[in-house]
């Protein structure tokens, strides 16, 4: 009763918002979160500034002002853009190639019980070898150029995506496969029209992890030797010639990673309702 009365005699502002289709409660919540974030950011910046002053060596531990200065400087010079471009190019190239091949490998291996069982021990073993451990070998094979780093990212993406694709293939419902048989589908038709679409949520989940691994691998690989890239900036910081840039690079890495992850969450939600509704959570 009270609720009904409230709606009928609600303030004009509230009904104005409702006319625009904005839920008042959500707006308030979003506003509070934003306020909390701003206040805490302010607190962190203050803490940072205090920490830097207390440390006393601005060359080694710069404050937020120095970092912002160095960042703007590099932005103008184009160093940051070049570094980001180089790192992103490697990630995108390696990730794309690795994911696509990983899907194909996962579909093929996942469809054959025999191949699955044969490769199982190998897969289990190599899961525990960090991709970066192969860097030395890859350097010997491909030299110190772009391909070495891209190959490494291809490796880690392929591995993760193939594993997740195989899980998706294994989880295709039996009735679905049977229905395809009733329809007279050939193997390639079954793979392309049934198994692949059905596995998409798993593939996306795998790609999400692969993207994270790609970022980690590219930074480490660049730290070990490259001409340009975010890892190079960090590496330079180790010889303490350009430390503020290191902090800037860390911030950029965070934002890039966040952006990529949000993209995946968007994809997963879009694919999710159509594909997994009724079959439960996937990742």
């Amino acid at each position: 009763m009270a609720a009904v009365a409230h709606v009928e005699t609600g303030s004009s502002r509230a009904s104005g918002l409702a006319r625009l289709g904005i839920d008042r409660a959500r707006l308030v919540r979003a506003g509070t979160s934003a306020a909390v974030l701003l206040v805490s950011l302010g607190g962190i910046l203050a803490l940072w500034k205090w920490g830097s002053r207390a440390y006393g060596v601005p060359l080694l531990f710069p404050g937020p002002a120095e970092v912002a200065d160095a960042f703007m400087d590099d932005l103008r010079k184009g160093d940051i853009t070049e570094a980001v471009g180089a790192s992103l190019a490697r990630i995108v190239a390696g990730f794309t190639i690795g994911t696509l091949t990983g899907i194909v490998v996962g579909l093929l291996l996942g469809s054959s019980r025999v191949l699955c069982a044969m490769t199982a021990p190998l897969v289990t073993f190599f899961r525990f070898v960090p991709p970066l451990a192969w860097f030395g070998v890859v350097l010997v094979w491909f030299g110190a150029g772009e391909s070495a780093k891209i190959v490494l990212i291809v490796y880690t993406s392929l591995f993760v995506v193939a594993l997740n694709t195989m899980e998706g293939v294994a989880k295709v419902p039996q009735d679905m496969v049977r229905m395809a048989g009733v329809a007279g589908a050939r193997t390639w038709q079954r793979l392309w029209m049934i198994v692949l679409p059905s596995s998409v949520p798993y593939i996306i989940a795998g790609a999400r992890v692969a993207m994270g691994n790609a970022f980690m691998t590219v930074v480490s690989a660049e730290m070990l030797g490259a001409s340009a890239g975010l890892g190079v900036i960090i590496n330079n910081g180790m010889t303490s010639t350009a430390v503020p840039q290191v902090f800037a690079a860390i911030l950029i890495l965070g934002f890039l990673g966040l952006g990529a992850d949000r993209l995946f969450m968007l994809l997963m939600n879009k694919a999710g309702t159509r594909l997994t509704y009724g079959r439960g959570e996937v990742a």
């Binding site: 419902p173 039996q174 009735d175 679905m176 049977r178 229905m179 395809a180 048989g181 009733v182 329809a183 007279g184 589908a185 038709q189 029209m193 049934i194 679409p197 059905s198 998409v200 309702t273 159509r274 594909l275 997994t276 509704y277 009724g278 079959r279």
Partner: protein, 267 residues
Amino acid sequence: MSVDTSAIAPLLQMRAVTYGYKASLPPIMEDIDLDIASGEFFVLLGPSGCGKTTILNQVAGFVHPQRGELLVKGERITKPGPDRAVVFQGHDSLLGWLTVRQNIEFPLRVAGVAKSQRRRRVDHVLELVELGAQEAKFPHELSGGMKQRVQIARGLVTDSRMLLMDEPFGALDAQTRSSLQLELSAIWERERRTVLFITHDIAEAVILADRVGVMSAGPRAYLHSIVTIDLPRPRTRTPEFNALVDRLEATVTAAKARRPLEKEDAA
């Protein structure tokens, strides 16, 4: 109108079909002999564990018998095919990323049927199952009854000889089940296919079937008896209907106990 099963060559023949999981264990079913005539609506009735779904799976070609053979139009069944369309018990076979229309036309796309013909055929079955208004919806937006209608439409869209239905209305509420039974009966009268329908619901069997095959309990299940339902369609709860239900109940009781029907079974 009942079917004269003697004159025309049967569409489906089962000869001494025996099925079990392991050779060392007793088979689930043994020496099943059954003929189903072309255009007949045959219902297989029985308790759980008697293997009636497994019979359907063998007719569909999903599994193979240990001994004996299954023939459709005189040829051995070796694998699944569009001539024996299947309506599954659950909704797993519906493709969640495709619309209702796309789900129904799936067998036609696989077979490479041209777009215009596909459109015509799908329009026809959509009208049959009365799903025209939902053709652009996705499976997760449909009710249970609608999802089963999609499966039925998919089963009818090809030139299938047989429609195999595995307890399709089992998971639905009583009301939806009733209306779908009547719908199915009406559809079948328009699109005469041979139907093999599995159920454990006796009333459902009497509403739908030309003949009802009653399975005994397993293991070593056998085909206990075949009861002919000679009532005009659509079927309502007349005294004749109820008498047949009673008779089937008695038969099922005897079949569960794996003994012949006796006078005492009549309630």
